[in-house]
Subunit: 341 residues, 4 copies
């Protein structure tokens, strides 16, 4: 079985580690960090979801820190690299690059990087739905960011069925995650003054043929971005056909405002009512009432749960790198193990 | 001088009354209401901006209410209608229609209605920049809503210079005004599930040739909507030319994120630092860094102060109805009196 | 086994139903409602925590509603009352009273009511930690509200060890729950103008000897109230002794700001990291750094998760009513089944 | 006339400068800064309230900065110190101390410092209502912070009339000011884990005899702190007598929730409706319905506008230092010039 280490137990890292643990064809060899991050103490605690998982220190100083903070450190990560097949690197920007250079490349360990890493850290920018095959046998893959992932999933679904000529997406981003209480704004809307914003080119790294432009603002919410999207279709489509294309996408969920899910808060509550771990929603949620086709233009509004959406794609990236499964099978396996959709 | 009464002293009404008072070619004959609304007591108080203004009751019951609440009521509005030339009706939806039928029409009093009124209340939907001339000699005019006004001003500025073929606007609306503390959302983003939203047709009521589509969400802020706009231009334009077109629009202001005005909160502070009454901003604020032209598409992001943007258009509507001035002169007079731009 | 029905599947009801299902000495006979509430569809769905639970209609009209909305309704609740031992009534205020009169009393069914019910609906106002014994063999019990429960738990812990002469608590309440996005305030703090507020007498219903006064405000957050408390102790206590008294209270948890849990958002994240269902926290969380004793006065600040804190007390209320266990055993059983502490 | 310079044109500085300008017995000689702060460009602009005021640079580097940013700099501040009588120093913590040592002391210029300055920067901690006389002829005065000022004003009013033995205040603080959109929290309540908090000793610096304890939390609002206060009175008092004592305090205002001012947002709107500059409220607003006396304990809830409350005390501090007026006259003059109450 592929042995996986997750480096950096933050927002993404803790979720990826738990997702790896739930798969049947890979093994969570351990997690690595340099200090007590928000969740580390809790997820490793007796009632935590990673209880019993080996904790490695990413470097000597980190080992000292962690031990000072009362953690048992199994070993330095680099002393175990030859037993490891792949590291999912969820460390902060800047660290990921150094890790690649100092640890992964010299030791022939594969690595999956996250959306915040520099673009040239890996040749392939990865989204399971849009370009799974390109990840095959790669040594380094970068899984694209949450906003990019949601656009890749939805636009590729429309593109495959009806052909997309041009897309414009307006992003309404959350200010910070639930525990990030030092981040604002309070009572303010902040435009991203770079227009078009970087999210368009990010999607194009995954779907190079696509002409997509994006604009963005930041608002005072903690759970979920919302995107207002309009795309020019190459061929006609009925509203029902578009909904079906979204339904057929295994990580897009149609939610109905009419059934009571008419806001990000209500969708959050739905995830709570399903008792999803952390109330996460790795699927993109498209409000079905907002899917509209007029004069060849397709419109919709969707919600992105910024903390969890990329987690299944990290799992699929591992399967692609080791050529373990074809796209469809990998996505199905990941979804089943994670109880998605 | 044209004698003006403002009926309904709420968010819009109190501002219009004060704006009328500041003009040199019309007279604020009084305000009318049926009960103590949020601001009535304060604006009429000794230090309030409408101190000394006559207060009329809109009906018998209203007279009793107001007197019970300690107000001095000059008279019933209907008993003075023959001395009045025009009523700016800022009453809640439903009341405006009845007022037209029962008071304004039978007494040959002209009236200006607001964005919340039904569309058929007046033949002309009015925005001073886009269609001032159409208001001439009309008996009834409806000034369009805050979102519509901002789009009319900016898109018409681009249209006049470069021709606009198609426009798409994504609206990020405030949840409630500063004193409306029973309104949400808290920590949630709420999509308008009607896609395209009604704001597009509303703009088309003012600019019938324009092909414009809109989508909208509501977020937890109290001061200002933000619009992300992209339009297809008929003819080429440089960024500088577009900025100049906006600068030439007398109720559009370019603000610079680089100079520190990089959010709605910072622009609010700018209005406070200018000691504008109520920290209002009747201009549309376009972030100048967001003005971009690429492949014939023009992009920008602007902010709308929902409480005050329509106030100058109400004043201009009066001038148009009585054929007092041409468009340019009316706008200049209103702006000067209100200290705009 | 005691057969339990939960009537009203809202915020409290859905949680109590799931908690009943987890106990080994009582049976969730079913849930009852009159219409699709926020969570009903989801909790009963294939992946929901109440999948397979019988759904009853509380009345004929409710049966029709639910069937129209696509639910399978097992029966009218009243047709099964003779098979049921107790109803946990979580219906909206007003309905609870009618249910008691029309259903529970005539059919000799016991009932547990919630904090929103009128005070005279049951003789005993119940908090498991403070007055479990008083619930014994009662037919009707009212579990006190979330704020009252948290004060009862913490103050009774201090009272038992050191004697409490007087207490003052200042409550900072959340504006609405996560899905209640029509509720405000946005960017405003709203005082409860009734001073002292009703929360003091509510605690006294549980601890009649206690002299406690409360004041309260409402703020724009969705997850958790915060209380600032100070009490006069009858006998001396060290900080460490007070902390130990809190630790010994089986539903109070000391959390450490120093370990990173320095806000309600961070504690929310802790519950997410523990993968608690719905990220709930039925314990009161006392920030341990805030426990202070000076000149005979004890100070602390605690957090209350308004949606889940009363759930274990509902379970204990059932055990008390049927004299199934003594206080200590009941609390232990409930906590173990719910994975509390 | 006393010549005043305000150093540091931030939140407090710009307001103090404008207040000095409005007085008849002192002269605003100029303002000093080192760089474009939020408001500097706007307040000095053609329509700004400080248009025409001399701008000095606080040091050589500052002069260069300001000139690079397009400002006209009159001179270095230190080159004009001999013409200046007093500097109101509103610079960030750390700078104030250096300014005292390097500029004010060597040049025999008096100075007024703000709440953020170290306690030993001046012997006298000043609040006009509580200890005006102590400021007489001092060279250096520190005006206490916004929270402390509000408590000093209200508690001293109660103390003078009825004697206050002990006070406990629970503070609900705003997260950041209107333009401070990088500050949180969003959707979180953050306790100050230092219990009792530093605000108590701060009040005691002004009222040394008072036994006062405070606790505090931070919440997601931008306009106004709210304090819940309870004090033990030495002698009996009726509610009406307490209200009268507050009414007699020239910088405390009783506001009525019943008249519609039942939240900080509604009081903000009242200031907007009065067209106060920046919608500021230098008075403490006590909700009159919350004033209650029970068993010798007096309760109330008040609101503090954090940006403007200390401004009049800065003016009075100047008058005290130069022995220009007695307390009552100074307060009256300041209030009249600032249109307070």
């Amino acid at each position: 079985m592929v042995k996986v280490v997750v480096a950096g137990v933050g927002t993404i890292g803790k979720r990826v580690a738990e997702a790896v643990k739930k798969q049947h064809d890979m093994e969570l060899y351990g997690v690595a960090d340099v200090s007590q991050t928000g969740g580390l103490r809790t997820v490793l605690s007796e009632k935590g979801p990673l209880h019993g998982t080996h904790l490695f220190a990413s470097n000597d100083e980190g080992k000292e820190n962690l031990e000072d903070q009362g953690f048992y450190v199994e070993a330095l990560l680099e002393d175990r690299l030859e037993e490891i097949d792949v590291v999912v690197d969820c460390t902060p920007p800047g660290i990921d690059e150094k890790n690649k250079e100092n640890m992964y490349e010299p030791n022939d360990v594969k690595a999956v990087f996250q959306g915040g890493a520099p673009d040239d850290i890996a040749e392939v920018k990865f989204n399971a739905d849009a370009n799974y095959e390109e990840g095959k046998d790669e040594d380094f893959i970068k899984v694209v960011s949450c906003n990019t992932t949601s656009l890749s999933r939805t636009v590729s679904a429309a593109d495959e069925e009806f052909g997309v000529e041009e897309a414009v997406a307006s992003l309404v981003r959350r200010g910070g995650d639930i525990p990030q209480d030092s981040r604002g704004p309070i009572n303010s809307t902040i435009p991203v003054t770079e227009v078009p914003s970087h999210h368009g080119p990010d999607v194009q790294a995954v779907m190079p043929e696509l002409d997509i432009k994006t604009m963005a603002v930041k608002v005072p919410v903690t759970y979920g971005h919302v995107h207002m999207v309009n795309v020019e279709l190459e061929q006609g489509a009925s509203i029902e056909e578009v909904k079906q294309a979204f339904r057929d996408q295994p990580r897009v969920e149609l939610v109905s405002a009419g059934e009571g899910y008419d806001s990000t808060g209500k969708i959050h509550e739905k995830m709570r009512d399903l008792e999803r771990p952390r109330s996460d929603m790795p699927e993109v949620a498209v409000w079905e009432e907002t899917v509209k086709v007029e004069d060849g233009t397709l419109y919709w509004i969707h919600m992105v749960h910024q903390e969890s959406i990329v987690v299944p794609d990290n799992i699929d990236a591992i399967r692609a790198m080791f050529d373990m499964e074809d796209k469809k099978t990998s996505i199905r396996k990941t979804n089943e193990a994670m109880n998605i959709e």
